[in-house]
């Protein structure tokens, strides 16, 4: 399946099969849902957060491999970070996935997220990759729902 190596790589498939931090985190301090009405992807981001820092995060996703992998990768990048670090991370991820310019991949910086960059070639699927990040943003702001529409 050489022509798919760009998107459906092992990293994505592994996260899809066994998402990290995929179980609901209850109780939590913040929680938001993400919904993509177009394809039915549905996820919930849970945070245990102090004023400054996200101590724990989970993302429970019902949906396609892209949305599951993206949520799973996101949790590994966010755990233990400060709110301002996370906000920066969200912006970087948006640029990485949807920015006008083809990004330069730096594995040290992007980690597993680099595997999701392939989604740029599949415009119909970009929202699957950004959904968890939108929900994270909502959760941080104390909103309860993010949709892609």
């Amino acid at each position: 399946m050489e022509d798919l190596s760009d998107l459906y790589q092992e990293i994505i498939l592994a996260h899809n099969k066994r998402p990290r931090n995929g179980e609901p985190l209850i109780p939590c301090t913040h929680q938001a849902e993400g919904f993509n009405p177009l394809c039915g992807d549905k996820l919930t981001v849970y945070l245990r957060k102090s004023d400054e820092e996200v101590n724990e995060i989970a993302c429970n996703t019902e949906g396609c491999a892209i949305s599951r992998a993206s949520g799973s990768i996101m949790t590994t990048m966010i755990q233990g970070k400060t709110v301002s670090e996370i906000e920066k991370q969200i912006e970087e991820t948006k640029t990485l996935l949807t920015g006008d310019e083809e990004p330069e991949i730096d594995l040290a910086q992007h980690g597993d997220m680099a595997a999701l960059v392939g989604v740029r070639k599949f415009p119909a699927r970009i929202k699957c990759a950004t959904l968890a990040w939108h929900a994270l943003e909502s959760a941080l702001r104390g909103e309860v729902e993010a949709t892609t529409e």
Partner: protein, 406 residues
């Protein structure tokens, strides 16, 4: 009988590469491709014959009026309506259903009345009824289906009661392929004096429809799903019902006389065709129907059942594939799931191989819920598809299964 290669050549769009691979178009339930005769007819009309209808005494206008009337007549013959006046051109199947909801049901519905539909309806045959029912304190009631995706006729019959003001059901399901026993269902409803609308959007491309034999009161379909242009649909209605119904929209062409004290309306079809209609669309639809008649139903059935049998057999051999909708009588629609792979991932991977399928809820969320699914992948066939295309789909699905199960 036309050779396969000749049929393929009739559809210019099929001869191209998508993502570097020859296009395999298996999304015919969403819309069908257009034969060259339809494309040429549209182009000819717009290049040489275009004018508004019913308005001018000049040559082009009179000629366009004749062509538009001929298109209506052609559609009437196609579904064996008794009168040309029983054919109303609208924007699509969706608008036709909305028209009946507004113009037929609005005056009939009282609080606690019911409109009976089925669990396998497209949103187009659910939401317009919910809207109008909501305005009158009436209800939309779904008749249940079996796990195989067939009507449970006993339960269906018991749900038709004195509060039921209309039965509306899909002739062939876009999500499951099920062909409903339409004639029987109409007969059961009529025995109780209940009028019936049939949503024929998915049926007309695959089988001969005879509205007089079905004895339905309304029948709707869209041109774009039978090789014609989009933006045009057909409402068939029995004449005596149509001429009692209030107009759907007001405007030019649908009136007898207009004064500021009031307006009187022309009979069907003009009554329901306010404003300049989709003239080129109707003329394109006629070209599409002429094309279908040219190919012939026998050829269409033969080719489609060959493809469908082959597809059922090939996909049936892949252990991870679960076919959704296994009714006895089906149009060539194959909905399926693979446990390890989400439909959207399947469709994306197929697309990279030039294979176009649909993934999602197929505008039938209540049906998906009934079946305990969030989405399926759907391959929907037409007579211009090839056995080899099914083989390539099968190979691709085997690869996808292996990829996600590894």
């Amino acid at each position: 009988m036309k050779e396969d290669t000749d049929i393929r050549k009739d559809f210019p769009i099929l001869n191209q590469e998508i993502n570097g691979k020859p296009l395999i178009y298996l999304d015919n339930a969403a819309t069908t491709q257009k034969p060259k005769v339809v494309i040429d007819r549209l182009s000819d009309f717009l290049s040489k014959e275009n004018a508004n209808i019913h308005r001018g005494v000049h040559y082009l206008s009179m000629n366009a009026t004749t062509l538009y009337d001929e298109a209506r007549s052609c559609v009437a013959n196609f579904i064996n309506a008794e009168n040309d006046d029983e054919i109303i051109f609208v924007r699509g199947a969706t608008e036709a259903i909305n028209l009946v909801a507004r113009s037929f049901c609005n005056e009939k519905l009282e609080p606690d009345d019911e409109i009976l539909i089925t669990e396998m309806e497209h949103h187009a045959n659910i939401v317009p009824w919910q809207l109008i029912a909501g305005e009158h304190g009436a209800r939309v009631v779904p008749a249940p289906i079996t796990d195989e995706g067939e009507m449970d006729l006993d339960q269906f019959e018991s749900l038709l009661n004195e509060r039921t003001k209309l039965l509306a059901f899909v002739h062939a399901s876009n999500a499951l392929g099920t062909i409903n026993p339409a004639k029987k269902m109409v007969e059961i409803a009529h025995r109780k004096g209940i009028p019936v609308l049939i949503d024929g959007a998915q049926a007309v491309a695959h089988q001969e429809v005879n509205v007089q034999d079905l004895e339905c009161d309304f029948y709707v379909f869209s041109s774009h799903k039978i090789f014609g242009p989009d933006g045009l649909g057909v409402l068939y209605g029995r004449k005596e019902l149509l001429n009692k119904m209030t107009p759907y929209q007001g405007g030019g062409d649908m009136i007898e006389t207009v004064s500021f004290d009031g307006t009187t309306f022309r009979p069907s079809p003009e009554r329901f065709e306010a404003g300049t209609p989709n003239i080129s669309g109707a003329i394109g639809l006629k070209a599409a129907i002429d094309y279908i008649n040219d190919i012939g139903w026998e050829t269409i059935h033969e080719k489609e059942s060959l493809l469908m049998n082959h597809a059922n057999e090939s996909l049936g051999k892949i252990p991870s594939i679960k076919l959704i909708g296994t009714a006895e009588n089906k149009v060539p629609v194959l909905s399926f799931t693979i446990d390890s792979a989400h439909p959207h991932d399947i469709a994306t991977i197929l697309d990279t191989k030039g294979i176009a399928v649909r993934a999602g809820h197929h505008c039938a969320q209540p049906l998906m819920k009934r079946l305990g699914l969030s989405a399926t992948t759907r391959a929907s066939l037409s007579f211009y598809n090839k056995v080899d295309e099914i083989n390539q789909l099968t190979e691709a699905l085997k690869e996808i299964s292996a990829l996600f199960e590894s």
